[in-house]
């Protein structure tokens, strides 16, 4: 049963600009069948992305006509005539009332208080009432917005081209994926009940303290020791003499710090190796000896030098902390206590709220299982990473995981692999195919790469300058294209077949027309070898050239022999260059 999941019919939209409206889509018809991959291909500026954005209601353009139906439900919305008239009128009344209210206020202050207040009150009442009427007239629109919010994510999801700009750089992966699931109510019940979470958050300052001591005992004991010393000096009254001792820290701290930082770095490198999937055996990860073992033949002198070079980065820290300790000894004890109390009071709520916002373990496990679905290695470590720590392919996988989180029926992938390398692209395409096979998600794949289309899709639609020019099954369109643009596009791609090098590449002369330009007839006619008067004056209809294979061209009867068309293109390109239309 191949039912249409998505049906777009006769879509015509325009963008309002300062130079007047620009028609971005002229007539777009598109059908995505259930459990199928539909390819949408075209060059930049031909309206592929606008089509997809209109479909999920995120576009900023105005729809002139046409319909977008998802499983029979209309996704486009327009107010009824009466409602939109009511909204218009109420808007105007509100504007007038605001102006009268301002006038009334000035009148009150400057001329006559009684008259002014009367005008002010009257305009506020009238304005408020008409706003309420307008608001009521918009109820249908709000209902539709709510419906679209439900459709997006639950039913239709979208993968964007640039994963780095679609992910939030400030949140970890688990936070972003769980946010999608929370919005769509897909999170499982939390493991710890809410009142326990609140209690845990309230005691979190103490647990933070304990964790700090456990994780870096050297640093925290040094800090506690310094505070104890400062307090003792103040209470014991020898803070004046102790001021000079503070400068000993310049030497002590870097040496202490280098010991603990070495340990941390070794752990960091080990986890890094584990995450990236290298075998750790055989690779000596002994960083503590790293510098000295390489140069061990030179003896103790080198060891001292290496110790100094490890300690050197912590020198600024030593200087800074000695200054801080000096100041703490120098200032009166009451002032020091005041600073400590104020800082604690400011920090406590932040610590408590941040702890409360930490993800529940059950939700983390849920996110991990989604990441496993998209075959991310070592998901337990990846969920705690930020987007910048991931490679391009991993980021795109996270995006796909996010979109699959709510198990949509239709996935719109807008150039999902354009920013990726070919080997990573192969991985992502395989992943998307696997998802379709396992979960039966229909995919609308938007790309400019006909190669990707050939590999992925069941059906394909070719767009040119805002309209669909050819559509059909993948075999029809790729092996027997009938629209001259599709034929030219297919041949202008260099192949990797051996022996095809150093021949002149077939081209389509000219370039995609400016969307400002108005065409009466076919938009491709300036670049088409077959164009004549009819093409300039009449828009071509969608002709069914084979069952299920449509092409928008007046002369589909002339385009059935691909090699002849190509020869015509070559002749036309030569003439085109002679004309010098660069």
């Amino acid at each position: 049963m191949t039912e249409n999941v998505l049906e777009v019919e006769g879509l015509r939209v325009h963008f309002d600009t300062l130079d007047g409206p620009i028609e971005a889509l002229h007539s777009v018809d598109l059908k995505v069948k259930d459990k199928q991959i539909m390819g949408l291909v075209g060059e930049s500026g031909c309206g592929k992305s606008v089509t997809s954005l209109v479909t999920i209601g995120l576009a900023t353009c105005d729809v002139d006509e046409g319909s977008v139906r998802y499983q029979g439900e209309q996704l486009l919305f327009s107010d009824s005539d009466e409602d939109s008239r009511v909204q218009d009128i109420s808007g105007w009344i509100v504007v007038l009332c605001v102006m009268t209210a301002i006038l009334g206020f000035l009148w009150t202050v400057l001329i006559n208080p009684i008259q002014g207040v009367t005008v002010l009150l009257a305009s506020i009442i009238v304005g408020g009432l008409s706003w309420a009427v307008g608001f009521a007239a918009k109820s249908e629109f709000r209902k539709h917005q709510k419906f679209m919010r439900w459709v997006r994510g639950n039913e239709i999801s979208m993968i964007f081209q640039e994963p780095m700009s679609a992910l939030n750089p400030l949140y970890t992966v688990e936070k972003q994926i769980s946010e999608v699931m929370r919005t769509h109510d897909r999170l499982v019940d939390a493991e710890t009940p809410r009142h326990i979470r609140i209690l845990q958050a309230l005691v979190s300052p103490f647990s933070l303290f304990v964790r700090a001591i456990r994780l870096s005992p050297y640093v925290s004991s040094a800090v506690i020791g310094i505070f104890a010393f400062v307090t003792a000096a103040h209470v014991g009254g020898f803070s004046d003499e102790a001021e000079l001792w503070a400068f000993l820290l310049v030497i002590i701290l870097p040496i202490l710090g280098s010991r603990s930082s070495l340990k941390e770095r070794r752990e960091a490198i080990e986890t890094h190796l584990a995450v990236t999937g290298y075998s750790v055996e055989g690779v000596a990860v002994d960083i503590a000896l790293g510098t000295s073992s390489q140069t061990s033949d030179s003896g103790a002198q080198i060891r001292l030098w290496s110790l100094l070079s490890i300690a050197a980065p912590n020198l600024p820290l030593g200087i800074a902390s000695s200054i801080v300790v000096y100041l703490m000894l120098w200032m009166p004890f009451s002032a020091l206590m005041g600073i400590v109390v104020i800082c604690t009071l400011l920090a406590l709520p932040v610590v408590i709220i941040l702890d409360y916002l930490i993800l529940d373990p059950a939700h983390t496990r849920q996110v991990i299982s989604i990441l496993e679905d998209v075959k991310i290695p070592n998901p337990e470590a990846v969920v705690r990473m930020y987007p910048h720590e991931l490679s391009g392919g991993m980021r795109q996988r996270v995006m796909i995981a996010m979109m699959m989180a709510c198990e949509p029926k239709l996935l719109i992938a807008d150039e999902p692999t354009t920013a990726l390398d070919v080997t990573i692209q192969a991985q992502i395409l395989k992943l998307m195919r696997d998802l379709r096979d396992e979960k039966g998600t229909a995919i609308l794949l938007i790309t400019h790469d006909l190669g990707v289309i050939a590999e992925m899709c069941d059906d394909v639609t070719v767009m040119y300058a805002g309209s669909v020019v050819e559509t059909g099954s993948i075999t029809d369109v790729l092996s027997r294209p009938r629209m001259p643009y599709s034929i030219g596009l297919l041949h202008s791609i260099p192949t990797i077949e051996a022996g095809s090098e150093r021949a002149v590449l077939p081209i389509i002369p000219g370039q995609v027309p400016d969307p400002n330009l108005h065409f009466d007839g076919c938009r491709f006619h300036p670049r088409c070898p077959f164009a004549d008067e009819k093409c300039i004056s009449t828009p071509p209809p969608m002709m069914e050239v084979e069952p299920g294979h449509f092409a928008a061209c007046h002369y589909t009867d002339r385009t059935n022999n691909v090699s002849q068309v190509q020869a015509a293109f070559d002749r036309f390109a030569a003439e085109y260059e002679l004309e010098g239309a660069a």
Binding site: E43, T276, G277, Y278, S279, G282, V283, S309, A312, P313, L315, P316, E372, K375, P377, N378, S391, G393, D421, V422, T423, I424, Q425, A426, Q427, L429, K430, H448, D449, L450, G451, V452, I453, A454, E455, I474, L478, S479, G488, L489, L490, S492, I493, P494, T495, I496, E497, A498, G499, E501, R502, A503, V504, L505, P506, I507, I508, Q511, G580, A582
Partner: protein, 354 residues
Amino acid sequence: MTEESRDGEVLIEVKGMKKWFPIKEGMLSAAKSYVRAVDGVDLQIKRGETLGIVGESGCGKTTLGRVLLGLIPITDGSVLYGGEDIRTIPDRELRRKMQIVFQDPGGSMNPRMSVRAIVGEPLQVNRLAEGAELTQKVADVLDSVGLKREHMNRFPHEFSGGQKQRLALARSLSLDPEFILLDEPTSSLDVSVQAQVLNLLEEIQEKRGLTFVFITHALNVVNHISDRVAVMYLGKIVEIADTNNLFSEPAHPYTHALMSAIPEPSLEKASRRRIVLGGDVPSPADPPPGCRFHTRCPIAEEGLCDVEEPKLESIGEGHSVACHFPLGPGKKLPIIGDDQIPPEDDDSPKTVVL
């Protein structure tokens, strides 16, 4: 000297080129470690040929190009231009011989300069032309890249992507160089425009006898335009051969994987054998020991590939490969399906050969 006698002469020779970028932590520390962007590359570029350099992002191909031109200092090794070390050639002289076309044509042009100023600037800097003569020379160069004299007073934003790339090419041609480095010149262009630019490049090379180094990640483009191709992986050249040889008999498993990963817009080819490499390119800051590709290689052998680094060795006329087990006519990759991979404890993705 006639064109033919100059053919085959080595124009640029790269010996053991290394470019390491230091990673520093803090102000006072010495370099902790290095990103080995280019790690020991030997190359010979002959006069009049087009050498393609292919590889994924982060494999060091752009760095190689920049060191080749002397735009960034070399860490170790040398680049000889016509037998002379480029470090000893004065900058101004060097730039008249070697030019570059950058990846993003819009980003490499000052939006406040007119086309005449952009294309004419190299001539002015080198005091080769002024006034009316400059205008005439700029018009000639524009004509040779298919732009018109009227375009001279326009600004870059008034041009489309393909035209901007033509402008960038015109600028690099204005000094009449011998060598042009093309750093991904078509990757930001649409397919139909890419074809136009590629044809233009070939036409210009034929007319002026130029030498090109064409850096790109698209194997199909390189197949079309190059005479020889070098494949890079993690800062090293893993295979270098004549274009015909490389595409008919790739010897390195990585070249194989790259070629099979290119989606082809035709149905017969779409069903060919394909290799889906597992995982990502390792970080060049700490490359794997032994052969750098062994972490993703379907035929890597433990104890050899992860220990000993293969040398770039000749396996045929003009065909060199750095692999312990080079593939060839009699040796194909075995089929390793999803089900044939033993489930292991670590769930890092494995390479699949279908």
